[in-house]
Symmetry: C2
Amino acid sequence: MTDTGHLHHHEEHLHSSDFISDIVIGMADGLTVPFALAAGLSGAVASSSLVVTAGIAEIVAGSIAMGLGGYLAGRTEADHYESERRREVDEVERVPEREKQEVRDVFAEMGLSTDLQNVIADELAKDKTKWVDFMMKYELGLDEPDPNRATKSALTIGVSYVVGGLVPLMPYFLVKLPHEALLYSCVVTLVCLFIFGYFKSKVTGQPPFSGAVKVMLIGALAAAAAFGVARLFG
Amino acid sequence: MTDTGHLHHHEEHLHSSDFISDIVIGMADGLTVPFALAAGLSGAVASSSLVVTAGIAEIVAGSIAMGLGGYLAGRTEADHYESERRREVDEVERVPEREKQEVRDVFAEMGLSTDLQNVIADELAKDKTKWVDFMMKYELGLDEPDPNRATKSALTIGVSYVVGGLVPLMPYFLVKLPHEALLYSCVVTLVCLFIFGYFKSKVTGQPPFSGAVKVMLIGALAAAAAFGVARLFG
């Protein structure tokens, strides 16, 4: 029971991880980059409204770039899987002996004896669909992707980026002086980065407290560097 | 010969892809987000120097956030591999029968007969290192990560982001009026996005021309949206 429990746990982890990892991708950058940009501009311009304009432009730019980037990545993965599968189906038909040797090679790499390699290759060759499935997964290391992955991925990443990006920008809507707004923005965003880092680490099975501190430090470092450099150029 | 050529090609592809994919990650966002931010601000502010300040702040923020994000991802992958490996070593020692069943489960999922599953599990169990290697790769789907991956990844992503981000910003250093600079920035960046998209598609085995067009369109769309939204708020 512990046995199947262990395997089941692993599979569940893989299932939920597409959606969760898209949220993590979008929100990690959404909380960090607009925060650091706003902080950088706070050291270089006189009015919060300019920070808001730049921040909004960044959120739009970042969410579209990351969202459509996620869409393309998803489409590319699906196209790649399809074209590789067509090739394997064709090869199993055209050059079965060569494909059988590839099955043997996979098991040779696992450290199995030549006898066993032959028996396995013969058994798999009996069912062509199974054979192709095997080649896809174990020779090429490809899992069949979810057909709606690209669209879901684009939306999840884009929305997460917007939600994350509005957090550091909020104070600049409400406080006129960018230096003052920056203080509130730091407090609010660092708290959110800590909470985000905590849950992100929990989900990915890392120690949550040190993970939270690391995520928060990256945000603080990016903001401090942007502040310093923008001041030099501003 | 074609056979090993095929496998060899596949492995080479996997080898080079860490470095290449880091360049792609950094440069895709570096070319797109600062470009769109600069375009957005060009519709809302009167002086190119402000666009330069915001652009520099964004490049610093983005390269640190993405670079350190890549570092954390690399460290997390390495830590995860180590902790899973320790657990498998421990389980092979403590509950060998359960682990043998997990080996059989892997081959049952491949569609092999119960007899073969038993023979394979017995053979693998003879060498504990091989056995743990097998569990890591085929039960958990984990490959041993490069120990320097995190640092290399951080530097490659960060530098690629800076290089990409300076392209759309260059015209604003040279041309005073942001509206004028935007024109040059569009031409230079869209050409670079096309070239980048072309090579990216070649490397990932996609049709290069349509890939180049897609990457260029994402950049143009992000820039147009940022321009429109910043104008509303500016």
